[in-house]
Each structure stands twice: as C-alpha cells, then as structure tokens.
C-alpha cells in the first residue's frame, strides 16, 4: 500500500535530515522542519493527535487549526444540565498544547486542496502539509423532521455540542413546571456518545426527584429499536425512577418512558409552536423539547471528499479509514480520527444496521488519534507501521453515586478491525452468583467517571 509514496517520503526526510550537517542555508531552514503535520479540529481527537505527534517526534512541525479558543467537553455535560457540575469544569484552552511547541491557529478552515496538499483558512492563510489529520467531529442533518430546521435550536436545543446549548437546556429544565414533559428525540444511529440520550434521561429524572417535580416525565422518542447499555439503564431506571417497561404511557408511576422506533418512537413531524412531535403512531406535546438531529461527519471532511456517498447509514456521510493507520481510505496523506470516521465492526444492540461502527466516544477518538500519530511519526521516520490498538471506556452517570460503563477493545488482524469480545463489555448486571450488584460498585463507577474526565482532558490538551 502506497509504497511509492512512502519511499518518496523517506527519501525526502533523509534529505532534510542530512542537510543540517552540510550547513543548511538560512533560507531553507525556515522550512526545515522534518515534516509538517496539520490538524483540523481541536476536540479530543484533534488535540490528542497534535500532542502525540509532537511527543513521538519533536522535530515534526505541528499546527492545530481550531476556531474556538476554549473547548467544552461533551462527556459529562449531561451533569451540567441538571446542576451537578459547573460547565467551567468541562472547559479547557490550548495553552498546554502551545507549551509543547504545537502551533495553535484559531481560524476556520475553508478548504483542503488534496492535490497540492494545502489547507486554506478564512483568515487568509495557506498551510502546506505532509500529513493532514482531519478531526472536525460531527455536523447535524437538520432535514428529516418536517417542520424542524436549524433556526429553531435557540428554542428547541439539541445540547449535543457542549456549551451554550447545554446551558440553554439547563435553563429550560429549571423553568419546567411539575407535571411537565421533557421530551428527548433520538435520531437513527450512528450518533456520538451512544449512551448520551439515556444518561440525559436518567439525570433529568434524578433532577425531578431532587426538585419536587416527581409528577414530571422524561419521554425518549427513539428512532432506534434498542440502545447502548440498555440492560443497565433499565435496571437503574427500575431501581431509581419507577421504570417498569417499554412504551409510551407504560409507566404511570415512573418518570422515564422509552418509545422504540418500531413502536412509534421515530419522530417525523414537529409543530414548533406547540412543541408537539409526531411519529406515524403518536403525537407528544412537550414542555421542554430536546431534538437531537441525525449526525454526519463534519462539513470540512465532506468538502474534502473524504466521506462515503453510498452504502448504509454507517458508511454514507462518514469517513472510511485504513485500520492499521487511521488514514483515509481515499487519501493516504490524510488521517481521519474521532466522530467523523467510521471504523470497526461490532455486534451492537442487536440491530444489524448498527453492526459496523466503533462507538463515537471521546475515549475511542483519542486512541484513534494516538494510532494516527504513531503512524505519521513512523512514516516520517521511515519506520514500519506500529501495531495499532484501539480501546474505549465510556461511563454514564445515571443517578446519585450510580455510574455504569462499557468498555471496548479492538485490534487489527489481517488488515481489518477486530472487535475483541474478551476485552469488552458492560458493567455487571449481577454478581457471578446472580445476586444483585452491591451499590458500592455503582458508586465506584460514578467516582471513576469524574476521574476519567480529568484524565482524558489532560491527556488530550495538557
């Protein structure tokens, strides 16, 4: 694969490496970095890629392009909505990366010229790259629900990119009267943070409990027929929030209702004025309406021609990658990491259409970024591609002192992603002797979630 490219690359690096010995003139020294790596997008994936390229080889010139000066973590932002966490604890800047010698350019990428290997920005800069990391995260499809469009998000927040949207949903929750309905509309997968909507539902119910709003309900209108950590969520809901079974109106004494796609959960229509969402089966009038639109790879990835245009939901609109390196399947000089890529294969939630994608989580995005960084460093230095490992740990906090998690492990075998069942799985549903899992286990995982957050933020941005 790409032998000519690699050989050329090695030749180039060898030449550059030799030049200082010969007394390289000043003019060329300005551009004398061993190689130039540009990273588009400074979320968990992009920040990690930039940092780990620099850690791998300090002589590589790394530039991260990101419009925002402060990043707000999506993981654990559901805790902000219900007042358990200050949004400031989710915010982090780029000084840590700058201190490592990474150039951070706060600008907006307007185009990628793959033939010339350059990136242009709104600020009028053109940056040449030897390797480009594309990590723009997700964009939303605002089409698909009749009567819904992007201009409505100030009234009907998605709160699926953390920041002002998170705080808006928090404000709406706080203003909601007891007896109100908090409706979460979940799109057809894949979407980022697969357990996110259900963690949100759990914490909103927890909010009701603590704020004397126990007549209120959270209704999850789900376009899917199953979801992440379903057994664990249902167990927690039954224990904490009076949940008994699936379906609209199925839990008269409970605070959470989950409506699956096949039974009327797929929302197709919105009356924005009355905040009523409709499926083929039912109309549900919300007091607080949280529509999470369907996802696609960030626009810049699509504009650069890196996204698939055919195939199922898991290929169309997302960027396919090479398992060994995270290089784009259509361009060996570009690496796509994080939520915008499609990678891996796993049996997910019993839905055959959902069986092709690594979960879009911060954690897995970071391990993808580390694989890409190692591949780039190896390529620049003329070394073979290191054996890659991908891992995921994803915590959901579902109540007071109650956390659950899922882990995933992937390897690459014979050039394809391999889901390692032995290294994967959800928190125990019962102890091995079938007795209930002691509360101490759930409490530990809630504590681990908080520690995990500090570490992923530091491992990416510091």
């Amino acid at each position: 694969m790409n032998r000519i490219n690699r050989r050329e690359f090695i030749k180039l690096t060898a030449a550059v490496g030799a030049l200082p010995v010969l007394g390289f003139p000043a003019v060329a020294r300005a551009g004398a970095a061993k190689a130039r790596v540009v990273v588009i997008g400074g979320g968990y994936a992009g920040a990690t890629a930039a940092k780990y390229v620099k850690l791998g080889d300090a002589a590589i010139d790394v530039t991260l392009i990101e419009p925002n000066k402060i990043y707000t973590s999506c993981p654990l932002s559901n805790e902000v909505i219900v007042g358990h966490r200050d949004i400031k604890t989710l915010e982090i800047g780029y000084d840590g990366l700058k201190k490592r010698g990474i150039n951070v350019l706060h600008d907006f990428v307007t185009g990628v010229d793959r033939a010339k290997k350059t990136v242009t920005t709104q600020g009028g800069k053109t940056l040449a790259y030897d390797a480009l990391v594309v990590s723009p995260g997700i964009d939303f499809h605002y089409t698909g629900i009749e009567g819904y469009n992007e201009s409505m998000i100030e009234d009907i927040p998605h709160a699926y990119k953390a920041g002002p949207q998170t705080l808006l949903l928090k404000k709406q929750l706080e203003a909601m009267p007891d007896g109100g309905k908090f409706v979460i509309v979940v799109p057809k997968g894949p979407f980022r943070c697969p357990p996110g909507p259900y963690e949100r539902a759990s914490l909103v119910a927890n909010y009701f409990k603590h704020h004397g709003k126990t007549k209120s309900k959270v209704i999850i209108m789900d376009a899917n027929d199953s979801h992440s950590k379903k057994g664990l969520f249902n167990q927690a809901w039954a224990k904490l929030y009076g949940w008994e079974k699936e379906g609209l109106g199925a839990n008269p004494n409970g605070m959470i209702e989950w409506v699956k796609g096949a039974e009327g959960g797929t929302v197709t229509k919105l009356d924005a004025k009355s905040k009523t969402v409709s499926s083929d089966f039912v109309d549900v009038k919300a007091d607080v309406l949280n529509i999470i639109p369907p996802h696609k790879a960030g626009k810049i990835a699509a504009d650069a021609g890196l996204t698939g245009t055919q195939g199922n939901n898991f290929e169309k609109g997302w960027c396919k990658v090479e398992p060994m390196t995270m290089a784009s399947a259509v361009d060996p000089n570009i690496y796509v990491v994080g939520d915008s890529c499609v990678a891996g294969e796993m049996p997910l939630y019993g839905n055959p259409n959902a069986a092709f994608d690594m979960p879009k989580s911060a954690h897995i995005a970071m391990t993808q970024a580390k694989v890409a960084a190692a591949a780039i460093v190896a390529k620049v230095n003329g070394q073979p591609v290191p054996n890659p490992y991908y891992a995921n740990t994803c915590y959901s906090v579902v109540g007071d002192d109650y956390g659950i998690s899922v882990a995933h492990l992937y390897r690459v075998e014979n050039g394809t992603f391999k889901y390692i069942k032995e290294g994967s799985g959800v928190s125990m549903m019962t102890l091995p002797d079938k007795s209930p899992v002691p509360a101490a286990y759930r409490k530990l995982e809630a504590e681990y979630a908080a520690g995990w957050l500090r570490n992923v933020m530091a491992d990416s941005f510091s």
Binding site: K370, V371, P386, T393, L409, G423, A440, E445, N455, A458
Partner: protein, 191 residues
C-alpha cells in the same frame, strides 16, 4: 531481564514488519491506558491511580489477578481480559520504568497527623511513608488520596471480596475517618 525482552520486542518489530503475526507494540498498548491513567501513567484524575513507577511485580500481578478473576474490579476486569499475558508483562515492565510522579494535591493536616499514627501498623509492608522497596507492594507516597480511599473501602467491604487477606483484615479495623486519614497521610508523603 525485562528490559532485554522489551528491546528485542522492538527490534523484532522492525525486522518482522509485514509478517501476518501482529507485533507487540508496547508504547501503542500503553497509549490506551494513558486515557484513564494519564500521559505517561501520571494520573490527573483523583479517583484514578498514577501507575508510572509502580513496581513491575505489583503491576503484573494485579493485572493477572483481574484477568483470571481473582481480583474484583468495577471495570478493569473487562478491559484487561482482552490483553495477552505477554502484553500484560510488557505493560508492567513499561510502566515500572517510568518515573514516579507524586500527584499535586492538597491534604488536610489534621487527617495527615491521624493517618501517620494509624499507618504505623502498615509500615511492615508499606514502609514508613508508603514508599516500599518490595517488588510486589505498590508505592503509596504521593498517590491520589481519593483513589487510596476508594481502594481501602473496597478492602473493607465484603461486597468486593478482595484477594489480599492481610489487607482485608487491616482495612476492617479502620473507621471511615481512619480510612480517610490513612489516604491523606500517604497522599501527603510526596517525596
């Protein structure tokens, strides 16, 4: 010995590149651990332990105990089961060679004082300050206080059925306050 094994692993990685057999890439493996345990194994999260600089024997043993089901854990038992024994050994060797970096944290002087007294009976294994020369005993000096508390609570709680009976016995004698004090004392010994 391990160093030699590791070096040769890297060398064979270079020599055998392209062969169907996946080569052990210990820094790539360790990168997946760093997400939760910090860059270079130095944790930035209070509930997660730093693992850089811990004794190789301890690291290897604890991972193997998770893998074989001898040591319960809310989450590590799952992930570690996907790693081969060889990978576990390589990870233990890798992290044991990295420098121990005490966590930057504030401790409560009153609890530290109480903790010093309570830990007198721990010094046989853990040394006076939590710094142990024993290959199978973890370093505690400068570890995150919250992590130490959570672990001590696991030893005390029958729900976890922890493997080290000596630790279980010792932890059972401690009150909530004493567990906090022990953790704060070791956390404060960051030299």
């Amino acid at each position: 010995m391990q160093k030699v094994v590791l070096r040769s692993a890297i060398v064979s990685c270079l020599l055998l590149a392209g062969s169907a057999q996946a080569e052990l890439n210990v820094s790539g493996l360790a990168n997946t651990c760093n997400n939760c345990h910090g860059t270079g194994g130095v944790s930035a999260g209070e509930s997660m332990p730093s693992i850089a600089g811990l004794p190789e024997g301890y690291l290897k043993n604890i991972m193997m105990e998770w893998k074989t089901g001898k040591r319960p854990s809310a989450n590590m038992t799952r992930l570690i089961s996907g790693y081969t024994d060889e990978e576990i050994a390589a990870l233990a060797a890798h992290y044991s060679k990295l420098p121990w970096v005490p966590a930057k944290q504030k401790t409560d002087p009153k609890l530290v004082k109480l903790g010093k007294k309570v830990t007198e009976k721990c010094s046989g294994c853990h040394g006076d300050t939590g710094k142990s020369d024993d290959a199978d005993t973890p370093s505690l000096h400068g570890q995150w206080s919250q992590y130490l508390q959570l672990e001590a609570l696991k030893y005390r709680d029958d729900a976890f059925n922890m493997p080290n009976k000596q630790m279980v016995k010792a932890a059972k004698k401690l009150s909530d306050e004493e567990i906090k004090a022990v953790a704060e004392f070791y956390a404060s010994q960051s030299k």
